[in-house]
C-alpha cells in the first residue's frame, strides 16, 4: 500500500516581506518558520526557526551563503554560527544537528510554504 501525504500550502507572506539575500520569520499556529529569499540565486528556502544547538528562535536572523565547490546553500545561526544546509537542513559542522526544511513556492508575489 502506498501512503500519500498531501502537502498543504499555506500563504506565508509577500515576496517583499523578506529582504533580498536574507530571511524573515513567520508564524503558523504554534510553529515558527524561517523563510529565506536567496535572490542572488533566485531561490527560496524555508526551515524551522528554532536553532537546535541551544534552542534559540533565531535562524531567520542568520546570514545565508554557500559552502564548498558545490555551492551548497546554507544559513548560519547568529548565536554561535553553526551552519546548516538549506537543502537538507543538516549541520555542516561536526555536530549531528538537523533543521526541519519546508518546500517553498512563489505565485503572484506571494510566498507559499508546504506543510505536511
Amino acid at each position: 500500500m502506498e501512503t500519500v501525504i498531501a502537502t498543504q500550502w499555506i500563504m506565508a507572506c509577500y515576496v517583499d516581506d523578506v529582504p533580498e539575500n536574507g530571511g524573515s520569520c513567520i508564524k503558523h499556529g504554534d510553529e515558527q518558520i524561517a523563510i529565506f529569499n536567496f535572490a542572488r540565486r533566485n531561490e527560496w528556502y524555508a526551515t524551522q526557526n528554532l536553532c537546535p544547538h541551544k534552542q534559540q528562535m533565531a535562524i531567520s536572523r542568520g546570514m545565508i551563503g554557500s559552502a564548498g565547490e558545490s555551492c551548497e546553500p546554507k544559513v548560519a545561526c547568529p548565536f554561535h554560527k553553526k551552519t546548516f544546509s538549506l537543502l537538507t537542513g543538516e549541520c555542516l559542522g561536526e555536530e549531528e544537528l538537523v533543521l526541519k526544511t519546508y518546500p517553498v513556492k512563489i505565485a503572484d508575489g506571494k510566498v507559499f510554504v508546504g506543510i505536511d
Binding site: 507572506c13 513567520i26 515558527q32 536567496f38 542572488r40 541551544k54 546570514m63 551563503g65 546554507k74 561536526e94
Partner: protein, 831 residues
C-alpha cells in the same frame, strides 16, 4: 560459530576508547559494556568546563545511540560485583550474569580520601564525576570560603573552579613544601605561588590537616601545627586510588599500594583478563593521564586481533590548563647537575620561570619546567622525545627569537616523520603532513575530521596548525590569511581593492573578487570595509551585517536584544538618567551598569527596539554602537574638575575623543580611556588607546587589551598637547582599520606587526611612510559623515518594518522569549 564475547567493565574515557579502537580493527567481537555511573562515557579531562556552562551532553564522548549503532550492549548504572574466573562469568549489581571470552577491566580510579577525623561531614567533596560537580555547585551557592586539600595538578584545577563558582575566599592546602610537587621544582613553585596569589588564591604549604571541625557541617580545618582555618566547604584532591577491588576479589595480582598488575600486553595474572587505564599497574607505576590510557586501549585491541603492539611506559609530560597561569613540565624535569647542565630564566616582574636540562655535551634536551609562559611547551617536548640536536646556543629555546611569528613552522618541519604530535589519538607528524599533501586538508577542522588529531585534550592544536601551514608552504601552496573560502584575499588586500575600484556594495565586491555566494564570515568583513571606507548607513545593506549590526542591538540569550545608549565619557545628567529608568520600566528591561561606564538595558523584544529608541533619541541619546565592531566607550576618571590629584580635565577630553570616533567601523571593537593623572583611575592602559595627563601635557598609550588575554598598552608619545594626541590617534586608528585582519584587536595586531612598537612609532610619530596626512584626511572624512544609525532607522518606514519577529504577525512577540524574576528585575529564562 558465534562471535567471541568481550565484556568491558567501566564506561569511562579509556573503556570507551577501547570500544572505538576494537571496532576500528575488527567486527568479529560481541562487545558488552558495564558502567557504574548513570551516564555514558564523558570527557573527564575537561570536567571543570561543566562549571563554565558545558552540559553533560557537551562533555559526552559519543552519542548514546553510538553504542547500539555499533552493536554494543551498554548497561549503565550497573556495576560488576563479582568475577567467576573458573566459569568465566561476571555478575552485576542488577543481577545480570554473563559469560565472557575476554574481560577488559577499565575501572579507572577514585579520589583518595585520607582518614581524617570529621571527613564524613557535610560540605566535604571529591572532584571526579559529574555528580561530584553537581554537589559542589549546589553547596557553593551558600559558601563564602572554601579550601582544596592538595596542591597538585587536579587540586589547582579544583581551586580555580571554586573561584569561578564565586567563592570569595579560596584556599589551597598542600602537605609538601611546594605546589605540584610531582611536576615542578621549588623555584618554579615559588613563581607559581606568586602568580596564583595575584589571582586571589590563598596558598598554604607544609600544612597537614589533623581534623575537620563542625557540628554536622564543616566549619573549619585544624592543622597539625594547631592553627585553624574557617571554611564553608572542602574539596579533597589528595591523589588517586586505582579501583582494583573487583580484581582483588577475583584473586588477580594487585600491587601493594593498589593497581591491577599487568604485563606489556596489558594482561593481568589471568590471560583472558586485561586491565587498562588508571586501574592498571605497569612496572610499579599507575598512569594517571588519558593519553597512556588510550595507548593501553589500543594495545589490547591489537592483541585481541592478533596485531603486534606492546606497552613500554609512557611520557608523563603535562601542561596545566585553566588556572590562568601557564604551567608545564616535560621530560626529565628534576635531573640536576652534574648529571646534566641546567639553564634557568627568571623574570619575577612578569612572573616567568623557565628551566631546561640539557645533556653535558650540550647536544640534547632532557626535560624542563615552564611557568608563566608555556608557549614553547609543544616544541620543547618534541625536542626531547625526538632527540633533536640543540642549536649552538640552547638558551634561545627558552628566550625565543624576538618577534616570534616570522619563522613559525620552520621548527616543527624539522621533526622526524614518526614524531608523535597528538598523543591522545596517536597521530604522527607524517600522518598530518600527508593529510595535507595527499588528503587536501588545509585547516584544523579538516584535520580533525581526517586524522582525529587535536580532538582529545586539544593541547597539540597549535603544533598541528603550524604543521599544516609548514607543509602547505613546502608544497608551494600559498598560505595567507584569506578572508574565507569565497575570497582569496586577506582583509587588507580586499580593503585596498574595494577602495581603488570604488565598490559600494557586497554583491559587486563578490562578483569582482570572490566566488560562490558568500557566507557569514566574508559578509560582515566586507560590510565593515564598506563602512570604514564610505560610512554609509549600515542598515541599508542589512543582510550582510552580523545579526547585531543588522538589528542595531546585541542579541542575547532567549533571542531578545540589549540596548546601550551612548554616554560619552561616562558623564550623564540626572534628567537623562531618569529617562533611562522610565524607558526600562516601561518596556520591562533589566538594567545593569557596564564595564565601560554606561547602562545596558537587556530583554528588549525585536519589535520594541524602534519604540525604545524613539524615546531615547527624543531625550537626546544616540546609538552607543555596542553591537558593532566600532568604538565602544572612552572611559574617564573624574579628573581635575573634582579630583584633588587631577592635573587636567580628563572628562572633557574623553567626551571630545568619544564624540570624534563614535560610529566608525573597524576590524574589531575599540575602547579608550582618559585619566587625569598617573594614578590611572580610568585604567586607560588596558584600552586600545589610553591617554594619561602629565605635568606637561598628555601621554598617549596604544594597543592595550583587557579580555581573555590582557596586555598593557604601550607608550606611543610623551608630554604632547591635545591637538597632537588627536592627530596621532587619527593616524593610529586609520592605520589599524586599513591593515588589520578581521576580528583582530589592536593588541594582537601589534603583536603580529613586523617591527612591533618601534615600527608603529615610526609610522605614526615620525611619519616614516609619508602616510600621515592621508590617514588624517581619511579619518576626518569619516568623522564628517557620522550619523546616528538609530535615528535613520526609526525615521525610515522600510527599515522600521524589519523590526518584527513575525513578518506575518508584526504585532505579536516571540512567545519563546521568556523571563523569570531575579532580584526585583528579570533575567532570560533557561531552556
Amino acid at each position: 560459530m558465534s562471535k567471541p564475547t568481550v565484556v568491558v567493565v567501566g564506561n569511562g574515557m579509556v573503556g570507551y576508547k577501547f570500544c572505538e579502537k576494537l571496532l576500528a580493527r575488527s567486527a568479529q567481537f560481541q562487545i558488552i559494556v558495564f558502567g557504574e555511573e548513570p551516564r555514558h562515557a564523558y570527557d573527564r579531562v575537561h570536567l571543570s568546563e561543566y562549571f563554565n556552562g558545558k552540559t553533560a551532553e557537551d562533555l559526552s564522548l559519543s552519542t548514546l545511540s553510538w553504542y547500539s549503532d555499533n552493536g554494543i550492549a551498554l548497561h549503565l548504572d550497573d556495576p560488576i560485583q563479582e568475577i567467576n574466573r573458573s566459569e568465566k562469568t561476571i555478575h552485576s549489581l542488577k543481577g545480570i550474569t554473563l559469560k565472557y571470552d575476554y574481560l577488559v577491566l577499565a575501572t579507572g580510579s577514585s579520589a583518595f580520601v585520607p582518614d581524617i577525623p570529621g571527613i564524613e561531614k557535610e560540605g566535604v567533596f571529591v572532584y571526579r564525576t559529574i555528580e561530584d560537580l553537581e554537589l559542589i555547585k549546589a553547596h557553593a551557592v551558600n559558601a563564602k570560603s572554601g579550601a582544596v586539600m592538595g596542591g597538585g595538578l587536579l587540586g589547582l584545577e579544583a581551586a580555580k573552579a571554586l573561584i569561578d563558582l564565586g567563592i570569595a575566599e579560596t584556599h589551597v592546602i598542600e602537605f609538601a613544601p611546594r605546589l605540584m610537587p610531582r611536576q615542578i621544582d621549588s623555584a618554579g613553585s615559588n613563581m607559581l605561588q606568586m602568580k596564583l596569589s595575584q589571582l586571589g588564591l590563598h596558598i598554604h604549604l607544609n600544612k597537614s590537616t589533623a581534623a575537620i571541625a563542625g557540628d554536622k557541617k564543616i566549619q573549619s580545618l585544624r592543622f597539625n601545627d594547631d592553627s585553624q582555618l574557617a571554611v564553608d566547604m572542602l574539596v579533597i584532591s589528595a591523589g588517586i586510588r586505582p579501583r582494583d577491588e573487583l580484581a582483588k576479589l577475583a584473586g588477580l595480582h594487585v600491587g601493594t599500594r593498589g593497581g591491577i598488575v599487568v604485563n606489556e600486553k596489558m594482561q593481568t595474572s589471568d590471560d583472558c583478563i586485561y586491565a587498562i587505564g588508571e586501574c592498571a599497574l605497569y612496572e610499579g607505576m599507575i598512569y594517571g593521564l588519558v593519553a597512556p590510557g588510550y595507548e593501553m586501549a589500543d594495545i589490547v585491541a591489537a592483541h585481541l586481533t592478533e596485531g603486534e603492539k606492546s606497552f613500554y611506559g609512557y611520557d608523563m609530560s603535562t601542561k596545566l590548563k585553566l588556572i590562568g597561569v601557564d604551567v608545564a613540565s616535560f621530560g626529565d624535569a628534576f635531573i640536576t647537575e652534574p648529571d646534566c647542565r641546567t639553564i634557568l630564566f627568571e623574570d619575577t616582574h612578569k612572573g616567568i620561570y623557565k628551566r631546561i636540562n640539557i645533556t653535558n655535551d650540550g647536544k640534547n634536551l632532557l626535560g624542563g619546567i615552564l611557568i608563566g609562559d608555556a608557549d614553547a611547551y609543544n616544541m620543547l617536548l618534541q625536542t626531547v622525545n625526538n632527540k633533536i640536536v640543540l642549536p649552538p646556543d640552547p638558551k634561545d629555546l627558552i628566550l625565543g627569537s624576538r618577534g616570534g611569528e616570522t619563522n613559525a613552522g620552520a621548527g616543527v618541519m624539522s621533526l622526524p616523520d614518526d614524531a608523535l604530535i597528538c598523543s591522545c589519538e596517536a597521530v604522527t607528524k607524517g600522518a598530518i603532513c600527508s593529510a595535507v599533501s595527499d588528503g587536501g586538508v588545509t585547516g584544523i577542522d579538516g584535520m580533525k575530521k581526517c586524522t582525529k588529531a587535536g580532538t582529545g585534550c586539544g593541547g597539540c592544536v597549535p603544533l598541528v596548525k603550524d604543521l599544516i601551514a609548514g607543509t602547505m608552504k613546502a608544497n608551494g601552496q600559498y598560505v595567507k590569511n584569506v578572508v574565507c573560502e569565497h575570497f582569496d584575499y586577506s582583509r587588507q588586500e580586499l580593503f585596498d581593492l574595494v577602495k581603488i575600484n570604488g565598490l559600494k556594495n557586497y554583491d559587486l565586491v563578490l562578483d569582482h573578487y570572490g566566488k560562490g555566494d558568500g557566507c557569514e564570515v566574508c559578509k560582515p568583513v566586507v560590510a565593515s570595509i564598506l563602512s570604514s571606507l564610505w560610512n554609509d548607513v549600515i542598515v541599508k545593506q542589512e543582510v550582510i551585517q552580523d545579526s547585531n549590526d543588522r538589528f542595531l542591538a546585541n542579541i542575547q540569550k532567549g533571542g531578545t536584544y540589549s540596548v546601550v545608549p551612548r554616554i560619552p565619557g561616562g558623564e550623564i545628567t540626572p534628567d537623562k538618567l531618569i529617562v533611562i529608568g522610565l524607558v526600562a520600566k516601561k518596556y520591562g528591561l533589566y538594567t545593569k551598569i557596564t564595564g565601560g561606564q554606561r547602562i545596558d538595558l537587556f530583554g528588549a523584544h525585536l519589535s520594541d527596539l524602534p519604540l525604545i529608541w524613539e524615546e531615547l533619541i527624543d531625550a537626546g541619546f544616540e546609538s552607543g554602537h555596542a553591537y558593532g565592531k566600532a568604538l565602544r566607550t572612552v572611559k574617564s576618571c573624574v579628573g581635575s574638575t573634582w579630583c584633588r590629584f587631577g592635573l587636567h580635565d580628563s572628562v572633557t577630553f574623553a567626551i571630545e575623543v568619544e564624540d570624534r570616533y563614535k560610529g566608525i567601523r573597524a576590524p574589531h571593537k575599540i575602547k579608550g580611556g582618559v585619566s587625569g593623572c598617573v594614578r590611572e583611575c580610568a585604567e586607560a592602559q588596558s584600552k586600545d588607546f589610553g591617554i594619561i595627563a602629565t605635568e606637561k601635557g598628555w601621554n598617549l598609550y596604544v594597543c592595550g587589551n583587557g579580555g581573555s588575554k590582557p596586555q598593557h598598552a604601550q607608550l606611543l608619545a610623551t608630554d604632547i598637547d591635545k591637538e597632537t594626541v588627536v592627530k596621532y590617534l587619527d593616524r593610529f586608528l586609520m592605520f589599524y582599520i586599513k591593515t588589520a585582519d578581521q576580528l583582530t584587536r589592536t593588541a594582537t595586531w601589534l603583536n603580529k606587526l613586523d617591527g612591533g612598537m618601534s615600527y608603529l612609532k615610526n609610522v605614526i610619530v615620525n611619519d616614516s611612510l609619508g602616510l600621515g596626512e592621508q590617514l588624517e584626511e581619511e579619518m576626518q572624512a569619516l568623522v564628517n559623515t557620522y550619523h546616528c544609525e538609530w535615528k535613520e532607522a526609526i525615521n525610515n518606514p522600510a527599515m522600521r518594518k524589519r523590526f518584527a519577529h513575525f513578518i506575518n504577525a508584526p504585532d505579536e512577540k516571540d512567545p519563546h522569549a521568556q523571563f523569570e524574576p531575579m532580584r526585583e528585575q528579570v533575567r532570560a529564562k533557561e531552556w
